[in-house]
């Protein structure tokens, strides 16, 4: 295919006429702006883009995108999007979901979409809280979290969404953050280019019920020492002055952070998102501490595997390749197959 003509769309083309109704200051605004700003890059006509969401503050997202969109029910967006994507491979299908929507009620559909590698771009807005229902803990809230439903602290260990996705055979796994538009858009770009499910966790601030959850990753002066920006093919160093690096201690399976100065360059792990074995990305996903130190952002994993639609469409195409009759003739043939008898 030759280079397509540019549709010359702008962010404005992706703004719907609906008033945006998140709380003032909510991280969702920044994500919305970043997505709207990114969309023109896809160079896909608006009518071929669909946003499907579940329920939650984040799931209001489709209303604000001037594309096709469905605000469905709690947790079910990946399932609905799978049916759409399987029957309409010509569309660009995006799922917007929250930590509750995707990982609590919708956990099963999420992991199955990932293993199937359905061609969905799944954006999980992780604010580590239930926003819409006014502040209960979520499956990504830290242990001991005090919320309306856990007045003396929650008892259950949180999911690490990336570990879970990797355990579920995801082919594309990434993390980004609401406050860094450029990074967010770079991850969206990689997701869009991927064939199959792209799972993107976006750290998002809920300034009403979980304010500042990701502050260390955002505050000037601190964030550079906390955030690890993954770049495919590059040694993993970070810190304001690149003073930290990631190494893979011999004999171990996990990753560790060291002082760059005290480390031999060849010891520093060179990021490779394309390794087939998910063990590397899994090890990366375990790096951050509870205090958010050493939080990698960027594309953890992007490997090739045929998407679900490609496989099933190929099966359909193969079956239809032999067909020469009209559908009605085919049907007549089908109805009269097997043992028949005729009464005159």
């Amino acid at each position: 295919m030759s280079e397509p003509i540019s549709l010359k769309l702008t962010a404005k083309d992706f703004k719907s006429d609906q008033e945006v109704r998140w709380c003032p200051g909510c991280g969702d605004y920044a994500i919305l702006a970043a997505v709207q700003g990114f969309m023109p890059e896809l160079n896909i006509p608006r009518e071929r883009i669909v946003f499907i969401s579940g329920i939650g503050c984040s799931s209001r997202f489709p209303y604000y995108m001037n594309t096709y969109g469905m605000h469905s029910i709690h947790g079910r967006a990946p399932a609905i999007a799978t049916g759409l994507s399987a029957t309409r491979p010509d569309l660009s299908v995006w799922v917007v979901t929250g930590d509750g929507d995707a990982l609590s009620i919708g956990g099963n559909h999420l992991i199955h979409a990932l293993r199937r590698n359905v061609n969905l771009k799944i954006l999980l807005f992780n604010n580590r809280i239930y926003g819409l229902t006014k502040g209960q803990y979520s499956p990504t809230s830290e242990v001991g979290k005090i919320t309306k439903s856990t007045p003396v602290g929650s008892a259950d260990a949180p999911f690490n969404p990336l570990s879970l996705a990797l355990g579920a055979e995801a082919t594309f796994v990434a993390r980004t953050i609401d406050s860094d538009r450029k990074h967010l858009q770079s991850v969206l770009r990689a997701a869009a280019e991927h064939e199959g499910s792209a799972f993107v966790e976006i750290y998002q601030n809920c300034n009403i019920f979980n304010d500042g959850a990701f502050d260390p990753l955002k505050e000037h002066g601190i964030r550079d020492d906390y955030l690890i920006r993954l770049e495919h093919g590059q040694p993993i160093t970070f810190g304001k002055d690149g003073q930290f690096c990631v190494v893979h201690p011999p004999g171990g399976f996990g990753l560790e952070v060291r002082e760059t100065a005290a480390t031999r360059p060849e010891e520093i792990v060179v990021h490779d998102a394309n390794v087939t074995d998910p063990a590397y990305a899994f090890a990366l996903s375990r790096l951050p501490g509870l205090d958010l130190r050493n939080t990698p952002i960027g594309v953890f994993r992007a490997v090739e595997r045929p998407s679900y639609e490609n496989v099933v469409r190929a099966q359909l195409d193969a079956a239809r390749a032999e067909v020469t009759e009209t559908p009605e003739q085919q049907l007549a043939g089908l109805l009269s197959s097997g043992d028949t008898w005729t009464i005159l």
Binding site: E47, I49, Y68, M70, H109, L334, S336, T340, I343
Partner: protein, 615 residues
């Protein structure tokens, strides 16, 4: 040696044996031969719940009943005239259903001490008076089969497994069935193992010849072809017919068919069947659960496909929240419920009609959908088409209530002319519909059908958002306006209530009946047979059968009120009766049985006679 030939107008045969004995196949073949001969037929398989319960036990018994006649029949028959019992368990499990005088063909080889004790026979029932009053034909089926195959190139195990063909041969002889199709079938089935073709054919012929030779079978029977409308027929089960109806709906609508399903007895066969029809562009997806299955189907509908999901009761319960979303989205969606006995897991291989309440009312909020039910195996084909028509025309979820009885039962089906099937083509929205010529109003309705436009992704200029929150009339924007909500709730109700459905037809050949029997779904056969029975005895009774449960036919109230008494037999505790009473304030009485089995015509006849006496 030529034997006496006796004419019969109808026969009911039940083949019964262990799950491993191939009784379903035997029954199927006998049915096929019978169909070739032009009899009317109705069949009823009966599987054990276990995959393969321990051999020789009562729970392991599998049976297949076939009723055939020289006139049109409506049920697989109340009681078998002939039982083929391949082992003691099969005899014990089925004996109670046999009327005295019935023929019983038993495989004596299996009446060993061990097998007898497995089912609690202290004494061999062939030896005491357990079978007094029956015409017992003891046949050493196993050993005769093995003997007949002595010079064949097959293992003893394979030889032994051919005993069902011996039985089939014998029965085919007894009822003078044409057996060419069976021979062809065996060739197809064992195409890769010619030695098994030879063995099974030999076993079949041995059975046939045994009938011809032995003294025990003095009479041979004939059942003449039934007078049936001309045309090409095939024998078909409800699940197969339903599947074909769905394929046909795809062809006639020109839409791709998408089936999202999670396996569940007795609906799984529809998934199996549809997954074979990829060349029709039918895409099937085995989802992770029922919620995903209906979700995917809804997503496919949203994208312009005919979205379908097939399941049974527990699955419908799980899908309920998503169906409610489909009601709000006003998109076509077909939910097939092949009912089984509940509640909970219940008796998964048994039949029941107890999901009507769930279909009509099992959603939160006011969430009306259309509900229809097929009345017989072949009717499943047309019911599927009708369900698709309503879903596509009125942009609504439609629940199709089949049940295990029609799903697995079979009957001859006069193949329709494909081009005479309803035209289901739909028009997608392609242009703005607002007064200003440029806005698109996703909830502006067709004044006649009250359907909203189906504007599928990919259509330029119609980008819009839909969702489960209440929508403003016309624009579809989120709305919390009280008056709008009231309006939308009533409009959604009206959308279903005003779907035009055919008037219910009353069968009252005598024209003077004072009692109306009203049914729905799979009770059609037994009710019809019972009414015939009464009429043959000079009693008048009227029969009406509902295909459309929501909305109901416009003339139903008038019909009901023109009888002194309305009786509603149902395989539940009176779910339709409840609706009828509420809607029409008619003192309809229910006749209810929840036994996991279809009604017998005889019991309905007895019950109705009682009712007739008291009007």
């Amino acid at each position: 040696m030529s034997k006496q030939i006796r004419q019969l107008d109808r026969v009911v045969i039940r083949f019964a044996g262990d799950s491993g004995d191939g009784m379903q196949l035997t029954g199927d073949r006998f049915t096929s031969e019978t169909a070739q001969l032009g009899n009317d037929i109705s069949t009823l398989p009966n599987f054990p719940a276990e995959i393969r319960a321990p051999a020789g036990t009562l729970p392991g018994v599998s049976s297949f009943q076939v009723h055939f006649a020289d006139y049109d029949i409506l049920t697989p028959g109340d009681a078998p005239n002939v039982l083929v019992a391949m082992n003691p368990a099969a005899l014990k499990a089925n004996l109670a259903d046999l009327p005295r005088g019935a023929d019983i063909i038993v495989n004596t080889d299996e009446f060993t001490k061990r097998n007898l004790s497995k089912v609690g026979y202290q004494v061999n029932p062939l030896d005491d008076d357990t079978l007094a009053g029956y015409a017992v034909h003891p046949v050493a089926l196993t050993s005769m089969t093995i003997g007949a195959l002595a010079d064949q190139d097959v293992s003893k195990k394979d030889a032994e497994r051919a005993k069902n063909m011996f039985a089939l041969g014998l029965l085919s002889w007894m009822y003078s069935r044409p057996y060419e199709s069976t021979l062809r079938f065996l060739e197809r089935k064992f195409a890769r193992r010619p030695e098994l073709v030879a063995a099974n054919v030999a076993a079949f012929r041995a059975g046939w010849n045994f009938g011809e030779t032995t003294e025990d079978f003095a009479v041979r029977y004939e059942v003449k072809p039934a007078k049936m409308p001309p045309g090409t027929y095939r024998n078909i089960t409800g699940n197969a017919a339903l599947s074909l109806g769905l394929v046909a709906a795809g062809v006639r609508s020109g839409l791709p068919v998408f089936l999202g399903a999670y396996p569940i007895t007795p609906a799984s066969d529809i998934l199996h069947e549809l997954s074979k029809h990829k060349k029709f562009g039918v895409l099937t997806m085995q989802a992770e659960d029922e919620i995903a299955a209906v979700g995917a189907a809804l997503g496919a509908s949203y994208g312009g496909a005919l979205g379908i999901t097939t399941t049974s009761g527990p699955g419908v319960a799980l899908k309920s929240e998503t169906i409610s979303l489909a009601v709000a989205l006003e998109l076509p969606l077909l939910i097939v419920d092949v009912q089984r006995a509940g509640p909970s897991t219940g008796m998964p291989t048994k039949t029941e009609q107890a999901d009507l309440n769930l279909a009509l009312n099992g959603r939160h909020g006011e969430a009306p959908v259309a509900v229809i039910a097929p009345k017989s195996p072949a009717d499943c084909f047309y019911a599927a088409l009708e369900a698709a028509r309503i879903a596509l025309t009125y942009r609504t979820p439609v629940i199709l209530l089949s049940d295990n009885y029609v799903a697995n039962g079979s009957e001859p089906w006069l193949l329709p002319d494909v081009n005479s099937l309803p035209d289901l083509r739909v028009e997608f929205a392609t242009a703005p519909n607002g007064e200003d010529g440029s806005t698109f109003l996703p909830y502006l309705r067709d004044p006649e059908t009250l359907a909203r436009p189906w504007a599928i992704p990919g259509t330029p200029g119609l980008e819009h958002r839909i969702g489960g929150l209440e929508k403003a009339d016309k624009t579809g924007d989120i709305s919390y306006d009280p008056a709008n909500h009231d309006f939308m709730v009533r409009t959604r109700a009206a959308r279903i209530e005003t779907i035009p459905v055919p008037d219910v037809e009353v069968e009252d050949p005598d024209g003077d009946a004072r009692v109306l029997v009203l049914g729905w779904g799979s009770t059609y056969g037994p009710i019809g047979a019972a009414c015939r029975g009464l009429r043959q005895r000079g009693l008048s009774v009227a029969q009406a059968h509902l295909r459309h449960l929501a909305p109901m036919p416009a003339n139903l109230g008038t019909v009901l009120r023109s009888y002194d008494r309305v009786v509603i037999p149902e395989m539940n505790l009176g779910q339709l009766a409840h609706v009828i009473r509420a809607k029409y304030l008619v003192d309809a009485i229910g006749y209810n049985q929840v036994r996991g089995l279809p009604f017998t015509a005889a019991e309905l006849e007895t019950m109705l006679e009682e009712v007739l006496k008291n009007v």
